[in-house]
């Protein structure tokens, strides 16, 4: 049994707070035509440092919040982010290093994958053409902006991890 779990609970509570803040920020457009997918950036950056089950939880929470605000994708966001965060956590544990470059690459990959699936199954409904224009003018800038936004978010999550952690984990 894990002792000193108050640090884990505290850290988990802090990340939930971050996710709620990201959900609110995502509702506001930051420029005339650009917005960040904060609910992709944040859980991916969290998942780099978390174990798989925790990462899945944060991903599912972020996705569920996004589904609430989404007009097109019931359950899709929760499923997508849950899977993305699980894969991110497994990759961070086994394959890649837990550094900024890895986080940026993962956020970019997740954003582009999300955009691709969203455009293929949701955004294209009722549209007979002009999808390339939508991708170039709307979705690609948002994905790139999200990738850029992952830099400060990564450092905030890294700092939170370094400050709020148990001094010694004891397993019984």
């Amino acid at each position: 049994m894990l002792k000193n779990n108050k640090f884990l609970i505290l850290r988990g509570g802090l990340f939930v707070f971050f996710i709620l803040t990201a959900a609110i920020c995502q509702n506001f457009r930051h420029g005339p035509r650009v917005n960040a997918f904060w609910l992709i950036v944040l859980p991916i950056c969290v998942s780099v440092f978390e174990k798989p089950y925790s990462a899945m939880f944060f991903g599912a929470l972020s996705g569920a919040l996004w589904d609430f605000f989404s007009g097109a994708a019931d359950g899709f966001n929760a499923f997508f982010l849950c899977a993305a965060c699980l894969l991110t956590s497994l990759a961070a544990l086994n394959i890649i290093r837990k550094n900024l470059l890895s986080a940026v690459i993962l956020v970019f990959a997740a954003s582009m994958l999300y955009v691709g699936i969203y455009m293929a199954f949701f955004a294209s409904r009722g549209i007979s053409g002009g999808l390339y224009g939508l991708f170039k003018g709307f979705y690609l800038p948002d994905a790139l902006f999200s990738t850029a936004a992952s830099v400060p978010v990564f450092y905030i999550i890294k700092f939170s991890h370094s400050v709020i952690r148990p001094k010694k984990e004891i397993y019984q």
Partner: protein, 280 residues
């Protein structure tokens, strides 16, 4: 003693006293005038008096700047508190003003359409991945909202409810390709449909289609709902025509319509839950 009275000193004192008395008598006799001696004294001492006042004011100002920094600090804090209070009142005033404008539009619409039933709703979320501006409102089936309930702001049609939960609903905006609205232009009375395309996704405009090649619809024309199919009440304003273009096939025309609503700043809307002719 007698020598004092004979001395020059006594003579001078007597002369001065006599002059003063004479001046007093003169001032008393000639009404409104002052004694010549007072005038003379004033003439001599006025520059000195002015200099004295000037020096006194400078000294007092100098002393005040040293002695009253605390006084100014307190004044600054008091003024900052007052400014903060006025700012809060201004924010409250602007919110009330916005609400009044909203309700004035609602009242006008209700007076013209007594058969409408409305529910007020607030926008609580927007999907950042949706370029066509769908949003979520804080009312759902628990408040009597159904799918295809029209959403309005004042006299303008904003969108239509397409998904309903217990306490929230998802609204697709005018200009969404998944929403088609029967409409007509009020001057030419020509009918058509409002539909959104990817071409106008960024500008928020939409097409007024199914117009004949020689359409009488022109720039500046106002497009309203026609009430066909009973989904939207008649005569809700959709927007204004900005341009008329030839259709893709060359056999028809379409108008580019700019909606009358700024979706980015929209926060409160009304949901029409029932109206005469609904679903007919």
């Amino acid at each position: 003693m007698l020598n004092f009275f004979k001395s020059a000193k006594f003579k001078i004192i007597a002369a001065v006293l006599t002059a003063l008395i004479a001046g007093m008598v003169f001032a008393a006799v000639s009404s409104g005038s002052t004694s010549p001696l007072t005038n003379a004294a004033g003439f001599v001492f006025a520059p000195l008096e002015n200099a004295g006042v000037y020096i006194a004011s400078k000294v007092s100002g100098f002393a005040l700047s040293f002695a009253s920094s605390k006084y100014y600090q307190k004044e600054i804090e008091k003024l900052e508190l007052q400014l903060e209070e006025y700012r809060e009142k201004l924010v409250g005033y602007e919110e009330v003003k916005k609400k009044i404008e909203l309700y004035e539009g609602f009242l006008g619409l209700k007076e013209n359409n007594p058969d409408f039933d409305f529910i007020e709703a607030t926008i609580i979320g927007r999907d950042p991945a949706d370029v066509f501006r769908s949003f979520v409102i804080n009312k759902g089936t628990a408040n009597g909202i159904k799918i295809n309930s029209p959403i309005i702001s004042g006299k303008y049609l904003v969108g239509v409810v397409r998904k309903v939960n217990l306490t929230s609903s998802v609204v697709y905006a005018v200009g969404d390709p998944k929403v088609k609205i029967g409409a007509y232009e009020i001057k030419s009375r020509e009918d058509g449909y409002i539909e959104g395309t990817a071409e106008f996704a960024f500008s928020g405009e939409c097409r007024f289609t199914e117009l004949p090649k020689d359409t009488a619809v022109a720039e500046g024309g106002i497009i309203c709902t026609s009430g066909i199919a009973g989904v939207y009440p008649r005569d809700l304003i959709i927007g204004t025509v900005t341009e008329v273009r030839d259709g893709d096939t060359g056999l028809s025309s379409y108008a580019v319509v700019k909606p009358g609503i700024d979706y980015a700043s929209l926060t409160d809307v009304f949901v029409i839950t029932s109206f005469l002719g609904q679903n007919e």
